[in-house]
């Protein structure tokens, strides 16, 4: 990882426009390596212009999110399963 990154906590605001629940505390299973971790723990690049979240285990892109005046795009192909728990 050469670029400066932060983490998935920063996705809470942007993704609140798509999901009603807080997704950053959900557990995401990486489609690349199978690692299971909170989305909050993902490495996030590009904020606040756009958001690319990568798996902390294998660096695969978990999701991409961008907002432009014409609309918003969410690509979650890197997440095999997203598990939301209550409490």
């Amino acid at each position: 990882m050469t670029d400066a990154h932060i983490d998935g906590n920063v996705l809470a605001g942007p993704l609140s426009s798509v999901f009603t629940a807080d997704v950053t505390s959900a557990t995401a299973v990486c489609a690349g390596c199978g690692r299971s971790d909170r989305l909050a723990a993902a490495a996030v690049y590009g904020a606040p212009m756009g958001y690319v979240a990568r798996c902390p285990g294998c660096d695969q892109v978990l999701l991409r999110y961008a907002e432009v005046p014409a609309g918003a795009t969410l690509d979650m192909r890197g997440i095999a399963t997203l598990r939301l728990t209550t409490g």
């Binding site: 400066a4 932060i6 605001g13 426009s17 907002e67």
Partner: protein, 243 residues
């Protein structure tokens, strides 16, 4: 305005926050207190996305941790000036009482502490990363559960919330320059500091680590190496750029 249309379509709930007070923490950081009608309350550790809109419609947005616990319609954020930043110079130098900004929040459900958590808590903050940890300290009822705050700061002049940091549960770990009378020579936090000032892995504390990304990577590594369960280590990283 196209942006307004998008926000409506996305159903995002932004609130208007009016500045009601400020408090200088250091020469380059201050705490801003806002009144936010319809604020739903929040948990210690949560943040807001704060947005400024220029007269020409240009907008800039940053995430800031809430540094005080829930208090009716009032929220506080503590902002560090980032030279050449786009948002922080306005918040630290220019905004005046009565001015309004837009906030989205409360945000985040992972890096939070709930008062009903019974287990001990180890808080480790680097620089302005102490802000959400201070909300946790302030949200705790006196004495329970055991809390420990390790706060890494460059010099005494860089310490936020200085008036509240006395007491045996708080240790400021200076990295460049320490005040007279502090025995620990200035250096970056290391394994010996965790052992001397932290909580033992045997106590199974939940650990909250907040700071710049390199700080968080270092500290979370030290915690796991010391025997803390990775599942009990929660982190929040922020970047140096943008500000």
């Amino acid at each position: 305005m196209a942006g307004t249309t998008l926000r409506r379509r996305l159903g995002r709930r932004r609130l208007t926050a009016r500045l009601v007070g400020t408090r200088d923490e250091t020469a380059t950081a201050r705490t801003l207190r806002f009144a936010v009608p319809d604020w739903p309350g929040h948990l210690a550790g949560q943040h807001v996305d704060l947005r400024l809109t220029a007269e020409d419609g240009y907008t800039a947005q940053r995430s800031y941790s809430l540094s005080a616990p829930a208090d009716g319609e009032f929220i506080e954020v503590t902002v560090q000036l980032v030279p050449d930043g786009e948002v922080s110079p306005y918040l630290v130098r220019d905004i005046e009482v009565g001015d309004v900004v837009e906030v989205l929040g409360p945000l985040g459900g992972w890096f939070v502490w709930r008062p009903e958590q019974p287990e001990p808590v180890l808080l480790i903050g680097g620089g302005s990363g102490v802000a959400p940890l201070m909300a946790m300290v302030r949200a705790r009822s006196a004495g329970k559960p055991p809390f420990r705050l390790l706060y890494s700061a460059r010099t005494p002049a860089d310490v936020y919330f200085a008036g509240e940091l006395g007491g045996p549960e708080t240790v400021v770990l200076y990295t460049r320059e320490a005040p007279d009378g502090v025995e620990r020579a200035p250096h970056r936090i290391d394994a010996a500091d965790l052992k001397a000032y932290g909580l033992s892995p045997d106590d199974a504390p939940t650990c909250y680590v907040c700071g710049p990304t390199p700080f968080v990577e270092t500290v979370t590594g030290l915690l796991v190496d010391a025997g803390h369960d990775p599942g009990r280590v929660r982190a929040e990283r922020f970047g140096a750029s943008g500000g």
